[in-house]
């Protein structure tokens, strides 16, 4: 098998409720539900395997409740996986399963090797700290204890993400939604992580701001060559940003392939519905 992957996920599973045997077999797109009729447990992510390659942008698309957000939250250790393995090349050359690490090591991976941008800026930013403080947090977690360097890096990042640097010491609570999202992106890329996770970053922003944020993400990807996983229910975002796409339904992958291919020639009924309902 090829060995040039960056992140390899195998049999990722997250069950809310009792993880009784048979839950995974009784849920999924085949049954048109992710809830087990017997136990009431919800299999949000059901046996998902995929590879991510260096410099690649992988899209994950699906309706609400299909498990796409849960999937990236598992990768970012926001939630504990019920089962599965994740190997990540930048950490010990991918030899270890990230889910088996101690909390301290997980935090190391999170702070040094990954960045996450949430749909709601309140999840990714601490509104009690200033915008600069939020970026500083990420740098301090990675062991930069030099205020001068933190300030320089912070203002560079904010310039890059087009947030006015003179508002660096204000709380993001006073920023517009688009600005908050850009501060979040600045924070996520503060340590030059090899992997960036984007969870519905443009949902809830107005169209012109959406375009700006998407431009920013695309230019970051081109300038820095970061690998990204982009979660969205918006096929426009997926088309603009991603090379390859997984289509999720009820916790399972129903279709995957090159983004253009999926949008031009959807195979699965659900994908066809998604594409045909694109405005």
């Amino acid at each position: 098998m090829d060995n040039n992957w960056l992140l390899r996920a195998r049999n990722l599973t997250k069950i809310y409720g009792e993880a009784a045997p048979g839950v995974l077999e009784r849920t999924g797109p085949k049954f048109d539900s992710n809830m087990d009729p017997k136990t009431g447990a919800v299999a949000a992510v059901n046996n998902i395997s995929f590879d991510l390659y260096p410099g690649e942008v992988l899209g994950i698309v699906g309706e609400s409740g299909s498990g796409k957000s849960t999937l990236v939250q598992l990768l970012y250790f926001d939630q504990d996986a019920t089962a599965g393995e994740v190997h990540f090349k930048p950490f010990e050359d991918g030899a270890v399963n990230l889910f088996e690490l101690s909390n301290q090591k997980k935090r190391f991976v999170r702070n040094h090797l990954m960045g996450m941008v949430y749909q709601n800026p309140r999840d990714g930013l601490n509104f009690r700290f200033s915008a600069g403080g939020n970026i500083a947090e990420k740098l301090l977690m990675a062991g930069v204890f030099h205020v001068g360097k933190i300030r320089i890096r912070g203002s560079d990042l904010l310039t890059h993400t087009e947030v006015p640097v003179k508002r660096m010491d204000e709380s993001p609570a006073r920023f517009s939604g688009g600005m908050q999202q850009r501060v979040q992106i600045a924070k996520a890329i503060a340590n030059n992580p090899p992997l960036l996770l984007l969870d519905e970053v443009t949902s809830g922003l107005d169209v012109s701001v959406q375009a700006k944020v998407l431009d920013l993400i695309r230019s970051l990807q081109q300038d820095l060559g970061i690998s990204m996983i982009v979660v969205s229910h918006d096929l426009g975002v997926i088309r603009m940003l991603t090379d390859r796409t997984l289509v999720l339904k009820h916790g399972q992958i129903v279709e995957h392939g090159l983004t253009d291919q999926i949008l031009q020639d959807p195979q699965h009924g659900y994908t066809q519905l998604l594409v045909s309902s694109l405005l």
Binding site: S130, E137, L140
Partner: protein, 294 residues
Amino acid sequence: MIENLKFQDSFNYAYIDEFTKKEIRRKTLKAVCIPGYQVPYSSPEMPISRGWGTGGLHLTLSLVGPDDVLKVIDQGSDASVNACNLRLFVKEMAQCALTFDTAAATIIQSRHRVPEEILTENQILVLQVPQPEILRGVERHEAKTRMMHAEADYAKIWVTLYEAYVRNGHLRSGAGHPIMVNGRYVATPSPIPGWDVPNLSMARCLYLFGAGREKRIHCIPPFTPVKPLEFEDIRFKVEEFVGIKCQMSGQDKAFMDQIYAEDFSRYFVINDSNFLDKVRQGPRPPQKLFTNPE
């Protein structure tokens, strides 16, 4: 104090019953073994409200014996109401000797100050702590702060220092600057001024911190390295009293109180009352002074 015979008979020596005292001593020993770690303890009822020095009182009463010499200070002063009442209470309950002299005391209970005079290996300083959890300001949940301590996850407290610097241009907070104890646990030195923080490091005496309301004991054993949190380029500094001399003694190089006279003019007086008495009467007692970095 009002004479109360019933009081004397119906209470155990040093007020707290022996089993509880034993428990407090065991928790204190644990705190000594893990410098800077907050050990939960029982915090029994006292005849004063929690949060009024009960933590310090628990420690003092569990340690005190008839041969001990006790000194109690509140914000540097032996004469404040709280200090007087606690001192008389412990004497009544434990029949120990009392003193104002820092050098003569075996146990010193204090609030908000470490004495100026260098303490020795024969002395224990008990500090009353209102909020032992230094991370409480950045994390509300106890379960989370415990996990943060366990994993030495101190980024949030560093961010508050960064923010303080950005806002104020220096790292100094009013009191209780976070300290790194023995290179492992970030702890609060209790609300003592920055001036006193360098005294905690590599000291010959034992420092005990009791928080009665929060039911926690932590400790800095003798000869333990204690570092105030500071950045590589922005260093921790103690208060500077430039060009200021004590009105009563003419001395400088001590923590000063600023006092307003009746005509609204200001003057400064050495805060540590026993230290002030000593410098007025005779030679200056030994003192550990910290030089601020450039």
